[in-house]
Symmetry: C2
Subunit: 247 residues, 2 copies
DNA sequence: TGACCTGGATTGTCTGACAATCATACAATC
DNA sequence: GATTGTATGATTGTCAGACAATCCAGGTCA
């Protein structure tokens, strides 16, 4: 199961700093080093792996960038990266890749109605209150900015209602990609607040009744409505979502 | 917008290796260093930033792990990370986070029907051929393994038909999370090949006709059917998707 | 032209060192 | 007793210089 073709197995000798990184990563992922603990000091690692400190340091830098540890003062402590970071890295990767606004919207329209459907099956009473609260707040929102913020919060809340971390991360990624442009859309739509309010209310009703079909359908309508805003606003849907630097 | 509460802004002096990393990252993201080019040699960077080589190396390690460069022989060359890598990092992040199989399936069911709907609007003739080819191959597949591979390939193909990179990445992430477990399911289902074949055929027909509703509906049915397999197979849907090491 | 060889360039690793910073414990002050 | 200053050791960030292994390019030879 190794040698390639004609002969000797490719003696791939990976550099020592990669071994250091690998060993530490493994220790963390396997739980031998658990959250909150700090990794051994550089000198300790030198002894442990029998390499030089500069080598250890290079390994540690890889670990650092991988998001498995954070500098807490002087020590590096192990963290289970929050889901938000997963979402951020996804968005970042996509943004780097010349994703266009149209892609983001299509993805929203493909994903969120199904998410709303799932939400209808999963919703609990606390969630209902939360959604209702957002809608209530929106009904009193004055400025465009607040309207946008609450619209997005609502979408995120729907994803959270499902209690599904995968959807949570994905919708969060969409949110990050979306945020920069939604403002213009809302500004362009006539009566944006009322339209959004209507949609949220209908979705809330459907969720209240546990009516998955209605929840899905209204979410789809809602998003289509917003998308129409792009046309009205004259936003070029083919322009790229810029790389964003909100660390 | 800085100082916390009562007083002075924290004088944070970032280490030099971070500056090196930042400078290189910026150069790449801004396009001053473009794809395929190799970054300057370590000595060159030493001169440029007026720091020591070990410092430069630490910076380079950060860059390396960030996925913006890859070792090509001895040089580090700039790459725009492929979408696959974005998907991998997303999956990795999710897997690390104790995502359960049930989460992955719910996400599939929430996302893929909408994706199929979009595919119906976007599909081109070349895509139709490709999908038909996969289905044809499946109809001749003997082993379980091939059946699984083709089923997954079909789902990926649907996502690709949409031409939407966001969906592409997300479905790819789902695929990675799913792969490990689907085998068991297919083994447990009675007549797995025929069931899957039926579904693919129906979806193909719907796509052929540009019938978004039918495409969506059949995809949903298809996935529900597969999910049922988990019950039959006795797979514990609440068990966590393990962290996987396929680099 | 194509296979082969050689020397310089570049990376991976080591050795050793020092200043800055952090964590503490202890002493001095109010 | 609580707060503040100080001494001490541990740890990190950075520097300086070195060497072997490997890669690359250009020249040589068939």
């Amino acid at each position: 199961m190794s040698a390639s073709g004609n002969g000797l197995a490719p003696v791939k000798k990976r550099p020592a700093y990669l071994l250091v990184f690998g060993a530490l990563e493994d220790a963390i992922l396997s739980g031998r080093l658990s959250e909150g603990e700090s990794i051994p000091t550089e000198m300790e690692l030198c002894r442990q792996f029998d390499v030089q400190r500069s080598t250890v340091r290079e390994g540690i830098r890889l670990l650092e960038q991988s998001g498995l540890v954070v500098r807490h003062g002087k020590r590096l402590t192990v963290v289970r990266p929050k889901t938000e970071e997963a979402a951020e890295s996804t968005s970042r990767g996509l943004a780097r890749h010349g994703v266009r606004f149209i892609d983001v919207w299509e993805a929203n329209i493909a994903i969120l109605p199904g998410t709303a459907r799932l939400a209808a099956r999963k919703i609990k009473s606390a969630d209902r209150k939360r959604l209702a609260a957002i809608t209530a707040e929106l009904s009193e929102a004055g400025e465009t900015e607040a309207t946008v913020a609450l619209s997005i919060e609502y979408l995120m809340a729907i994803a959270e209602v499902t209690g599904n971390r995968v959807l949570g991360v994905m919708v969060h990624s969409l949110k990050l990609l979306l945020e920069s442009s939604l403002q213009q859309v809302v500004e362009a739509l006539p009566n944006p607040r009322d339209r959004i309010l209507r949609a949220q209310t209908e979705i809330n009703t459907a969720l209240q009744a546990g009516d998955a079909d209605q929840a899905q359908a209204w979410m789809a309508r809602h998003l289509e409505d917003l998308r129409r805003g792009y046309l009205v606003a004259g936003v070029d849907l083919n322009s790229e979502v810029g790389t964003f630097d909100k660390l």
